[in-house]
Symmetry: C2
Subunit: 400 residues, 2 copies
């Protein structure tokens, strides 16, 4: 019997870019029951700031980040499927990462900025060991969005014999220069905060401002243009109603000779500041640096003869979801992946989803996305038809 929460030691782990992590633990959560006969395991891979808590385990439990997608009677129905999610290698929610002690049991020996460079492939290797430890020899489905989608894709390529189906949501075959650029600016925002101290900040004095700034930038790449236009437009914050702004101590506070004191902020700015402050309360800055770097290094074709070589390794059926309003990983990038898989003769289904919420759409409408994935999972053979209409969403472009 696999527990619904746990932590397993899976190290030491040799890393793709050199070096070794002497001790690696992965924190995980599970839902439903593993049935070795039916091989009913669904591995969910979380995104950059996610954790293993995909959904509540009971009505008293706090909701998870994909609450609408996973549970009894929900799209990923835990009466039928055994669902597993682990906090990613390098994460700060229980797995080994920059916030972990270098020496087990000695919290003063934090990795911080010294944590080695890891890749999405390292994450998948660590996850594979976790599955071994739990006795799960085969995945009916591996699914994830964004960084989670990169992992799902790496799973299908790295361990083709262990994956029956992979759903890659809003993730590219390799990080584009634009995606790298946005990540680099975010890291530099953290480094510019004097509290960063080369990554050796004490846990109670983290580079809050830098991390908040990174998150603010990230949000501009996660959300949709039309969504923000409709939701915020050019609305202003009524004076005196924005406590975050009042604390920020910025350009509005200096007295100006001859000019009336003014505090002014657009709603969109207030929203960004709120999102920045929210992340700082729950996430570690060095972890943010480590995981964004892993995303930059994501290139499923590396060392495999490029995307073509990677595609040829796949044996799983593959579902690819593009989001029409995704600024971070635009439709064109998944098109390349789909093309490569088709040319390699693989069973691939591609949906281009006209959703307004940008990259985050897979989180905003978790139920809708998961429903589409599970419908696809239950309909083998529908793939060759190419792009098709989903239940609740209109599908537009979709020719690879």
């Amino acid at each position: 019997m696999i527990p619904c929460r746990g932590r397993v030691e899976v190290g030491p782990l040799r890393l793709e870019r050199g070096g070794e992590l002497p001790q690696v633990e992965l924190a995980f959560e599970t839902w439903g029951r593993w049935d070795p006969q039916r091989k009913n395991a669904v591995l969910i891979c979380h995104a950059l700031t996610g954790d293993a808590h995909v959904a509540a385990h009971d009505p008293q439990d706090r909701p998870g980040w994909w609450e609408a997608a996973v549970g009894p009677g929900k799209p990923i129905d835990t009466r039928r499927w055994f669902v597993l999610c682990s906090n990613v290698l390098g994460g700060c929610y229980g797995s080994t990462g920059p916030a972990s002690p270098v020496t087990s049991g000695d919290p003063s020996s934090r990795w911080g900025g010294r944590f080695p460079t890891i890749t999405v492939r390292d994450m998948v290797h660590a996850q594979r060991r976790l599955l071994d430890a739990l006795g799960i020899d085969r995945l009916a489905l591996v699914v994830g969005g964004s960084l989670g989608g990169m992992q799902a894709l790496e799973w299908a390529v790295t361990y083709p014999d262990r994956v029956e189906a992979a759903a890659v949501l809003a993730a590219p075959p390799a990080a584009s220069p634009h995606a790298i650029a946005w990540n680099e600016v975010q890291r530099q925002a953290i480094f510019t905060d004097p509290a960063w101290q080369g990554g050796d900040y004490p846990p109670d004095r983290p580079p809050r401002r830098g991390l908040a700034l990174a998150r603010m930038l990230a949000m501009t790449t996660y959300r949709g243009r039309d969504e923000w236009e409709a939701r915020f437009g050019r609305d202003e914050v009524p004076p005196g109603t924005d406590p975050v702004a009042a604390r920020a101590g910025d350009y509005a506070t200096a007295p100006r000779p001859g000019v009336p004191a003014e505090f002014f902020r657009f709603q969109i700015e207030s929203y960004l500041h709120y999102q920045g402050e929210k992340l700082v309360r729950r996430f570690d800055a060095a972890t943010y640096v480590t995981l964004t770097r892993a995303m930059d290094l994501h290139d499923v074709g590396r060392g495999r003869g490029g995307l073509k070589g990677a595609a040829e390794r796949v044996r799983a059926r593959v579902y690819v979801l593009s989001i029409s309003s995704d600024l971070l990983y635009p439709v064109e990038e998944q098109r390349r992946l789909v093309r490569a898989l088709r040319r390699a003769g693989k069973d691939v289904t591609w949906h281009v989803w006209r959703a307004p919420w940008g990259h985050d759409s897979f989180l905003v409408d978790g139920a809708g996305v998961a429903r589409r994935v599970m419908e696809w999972l239950d309909e083998p053979g529908a793939a060759a038809a190419g792009p098709r209409e989903g239940a609740a969403v209109a599908v537009g472009e979709g020719r690879p």
Copy 2:
């Protein structure tokens, strides 16, 4: 005879958002000769970090930011046209702005972060006074890209009797929430640098790192996806060849136990750092804050019954250029402007230019853009035909 370089006092100036600037000077440059009979004045408005130096005045002079566009025999032919450009109000290239002394002649009394909030409309009011001072009563053309395009549009709406033609390049009728968000993150990058000191930094100790970071982010919104894909892709900087990187003192420098020291940077990252450092050597941080704020506040319909009301005021012929790869002000935003002008019965021509360099395309191919503008200027009546083919570029979408 108007000199080819000069500075004119145009203040005091009451500001749109309240308060007054007691002394306002605008620095300007001119090319060609003003002919009061032919009314041959072309006003060029520069973008965020530009200056009045559009082009060299003679072969020994340094090149300007639109060198390929302006000069004898060039698209904006200075044998025929009298060309004028002034450093924008709030700028740091000779006009009154945050880097100017509060009290004339006392450099220790710098405005810095206390400079009042200004708007694009204020910029245009100041420019109008400059034209008055120079005796230029009418503009044959006002043209600009980005912040310069916002000014060109404001000119046509604010002073309809003084503008015969306006060319609005890669600029929206109002700043979108996404554009505001990107500007706000850039300002916060400056504020996060401890050297900012509320805007009261000494001129020799500016917030270099914050301003560089702001510029790095800005570059991600100025350039094209396909351009970066082709130019940088996922190429890495060969070790030891990136002096900017070596100075940055960031995540790669800390020794990592058990892991080989690694310095690693993608070419796109090196490019961003280079661009950041380059701007810091030539631009002032408080000016950057002031001008980005003015861009956020750009809304040509404010106080005029919205975009519709603004469009109705226009008497000039209007040329609107959209750039297909523009991430900052996407095509859709100019479509709104063009629609409003057409509905108001105005003479408007819209080109959607399939250029790969993103928002900056109007700078990258200055000659091509200026040629199209001047061809349009010489062909009155062609407007009603709607989007048309340019000489050197393919035109795609263009239905408002």
